[in-house]
């Protein structure tokens, strides 16, 4: 019996020290000068633009990575082809490579002067580095694996019999996907979407490098927090952090709300 409580104490204590107390302190510090000051700090034009930009990253990166993630998982689980193992391994690359390195790599590819294809894009009038497209690409890169990793085990578990049954009943491959496969993997997809959203909201390193950090132009919420912090604007930094934390919390809650009872636990 005693070991049972010790285990709980260990798990909860670990979480409290690492996560609970620091996050709680962020909330406390955000409101140290009152709610009014915190509100004012996150409603300046720079702050509003930073949150807007972060939401743009999420709005583009999450749907694209969700579609790609499901297709990629289908290819890895349902098909047999040369390079399947390589694809499966490559998907994990963003987990393995530091976001800073990702940012630098992107400069080498899309940079204007010495980038691999930067010149070509510049000739078309598209600026990638130090502008929104580059930041979106960086966000997509770092948040790529989540949907794939959540969907692959679910696809393996449901097997192919339901899909084959649908085929013998006359369903084409698109009908089978939308009527049978997608509903069967929907909780895997939903969880992947939540993790992707959280990662996209919090991305700092790669975006920091490709953005150029122009306040009010290429500054996302995380970059705004760093900017405020370095200018000794503690209230601004902590208040913006609270907004970021709340956004992530809303995402988690949203999933729990749409998830029916049968799929929980």
């Amino acid at each position: 019996m005693r070991s049972k409580y010790a285990l709980r104490f260990l798990a909860l204590g670990y979480l409290a020290l690492l996560l609970g107390i620091p996050v709680a302190l962020v909330f406390v510090n955000a409101f140290q000068d009152g709610v009014g000051a915190a509100w004012a700090a996150v409603t300046t034009p720079e702050a509003q633009h930073a949150f807007y930009l972060t939401l743009v990253m999420v709005a583009v990166a999450v749907p694209l990575n969700t579609i790609f993630g499901v297709l990629c998982a289908l290819a890895v689980v349902r098909q047999r082809f040369r390079g399947r193992a390589l694809l499966n391994a490559l998907v994990d690359l963003p987990f393995a490579v530091s976001p800073v390195v990702v940012g630098l790599a992107m400069l080498l590819v899309y940079g204007r002067r010495d980038g691999w294809v930067g010149d070509w894009f510049a000739d078309q009038g598209i600026q990638i580095i130090f502008s929104t497209p580059g930041m979106i690409l960086a966000t997509m890169f770092v948040s790529l694996p989540f949907v794939v990793r959540e969907v692959i085990p679910v696809l393996r578990e449901i097997g192919t019999e339901q899909e084959q049954a649908a085929a013998t009943l006359g369903a084409g491959s698109l009908q089978t996907f939308f009527r049978v496969t997608l509903p069967a993997i929907r909780w895997g997809v939903a969880y992947g979407v939540v993790l992707t959203t959280a990662r996209a909201l919090g991305e700092f390193g790669a975006v920091s490098i490709v953005s150029g950090k122009l306040s009010g132009q290429t500054e996302t919420a995380t970059l705004f927090v760093e900017n405020r912090f370095q200018r000794f604007d503690e209230t601004g930094a902590y208040a913006a952090s609270v907004v970021l934390a709340l956004l992530a919390l809303v995402t988690l809650l949203a999933m729990n709300l749409i998830k029916p009872k049968e799929a929980q636990g």
Partner: protein
């Protein structure tokens, strides 16, 4: 002919699943594909359904070449061992699936689903989810789903294999009756010879990717084409160096022409059936199946010496073999 399989071969890597298999299934018949696991019976069924593509050979369904057709366009009903229920749909939606895909009017779908749920004794379960059904109920739902689209042939892959013994027996009898009602050409896979004998009109014995014999249950039992079929479709015991059905051996108190001496090791009483285990003069073990009454008449006891005589049923003319 409802299904014609012509010289079909299929390999999985080095493993030969089907080796030049040809088979004809009569319209409206009930056929069992019987054999040990790995014998090719499920592969043959899946080739007929279009779920596997044969390496060579041809499959005709209802007089049309179906070899190149995808499963969607073969109009076959397929029932899987593990039900393959659509877990996120109610029983009614599961059964309606094929009709919904075919964009039939809503009233027609509802009427047909009602009718089918009655047929499989699941009326009242329409709004449940598969997870709320027992294994036997799920399999009946899967059957209704397959029948909903009025398939030209119904294919069942070990349909009762995942169910417990009692339910399995019940569903066997029920499938037999269902077939008498709907008359759809039906082929089912089983590794259980009793199941095949009880349900099917025609049995196809498959082993190592080849067909060993095709015939009625009676023909297979009484005139097996070879030792494999003999051993697979019923009990065998060995006497004078050859295989014989253990109920075709007579136990005698005195030696006569063509008898062999044996000592009784053990008498097993199984109710009506009595199994006598013996050792022959050359030290070989054998066994004889007899009835309770007969064993009492002979007053058999352990350790006694008796004489065994094979009865010859094999030369009797049997019924017409069921045409394939």
């Amino acid at each position: 002919m409802s299904i014609v399989v012509d010289s079909v071969s299929k390999r999985f890597g080095e493993f030969v699943a089907l080796d030049d298999v040809s088979l004809e299934v009569r319209d409206g018949s009930l056929t069992a594909l019987l054999g040990p696991s790995g014998g090719g019976k499920s592969t043959l069924l899946r080739v007929i359904a279009g779920l596997e593509t044969p390496d060579s050979g041809r499959v005709d369904i209802a007089g049309e070449d179906a070899t190149e057709k995808p499963p969607q366009r073969r109009n076959v009903g397929f029932v899987f061992q593990h039900y393959a229920a659509f877990k996120h749909m109610t029983v009614a939606k599961n059964v309606a699936f094929g009709l919904t895909i075919r964009k039939r009017p809503k009233e027609e779908i509802e009427a047909r689903v009602d009718e089918l749920l009655k047929l499989v004794h699941l009326d009242g379960f329409a709004h449940r989810y598969p997870s709320q059904l027992s294994g036997g109920q799920r399999q009946r739902m899967a059957l209704a789903r397959a029948l909903a689209v009025q398939p030209r042939v119904l294919l069942l892959d070990e349909p009762f294999g995942a169910l417990d013994a009692t339910v399995r027996k019940e569903l066997r009898a029920w499938l037999r009756r269902l077939h008498d009602e709907v008359h759809v050409t039906t082929v089912f896979v089983t590794h259980d010879q009793e199941e095949a004998m009880e349900v099917a009109e025609q049995i196809v014995v498959l082993n190592e990717g080849r067909i060993e014999q095709v015939g009625s249950p009676k023909a297979l039992y009484e005139q097996p084409a070879n030792d494999f079929v003999m051993g697979f479709v019923g009990p065998v015991s060995e006497l004078s160096g050859r295989w014989i059905r253990p109920h075709d051996v007579e136990i005698l108190r005195e030696p006569t022409d063509g008898t062999e001496e044996a000592m009784i090791d053990r008498i097993v009483h199984l109710g009506f059936e009595v199994r006598v285990e013996l050792t022959l003069g050359d030290g070989e073990k054998t066994w004889v199946q007899t009835t309770k009454g007969h064993a009492q008449e002979l007053e058999l006891t352990d350790g006694e010496i008796v004489w065994l005589r094979p009865n010859e049923p094999a030369d009797q003319p049997s019924d017409e073999p069921v045409p394939a």
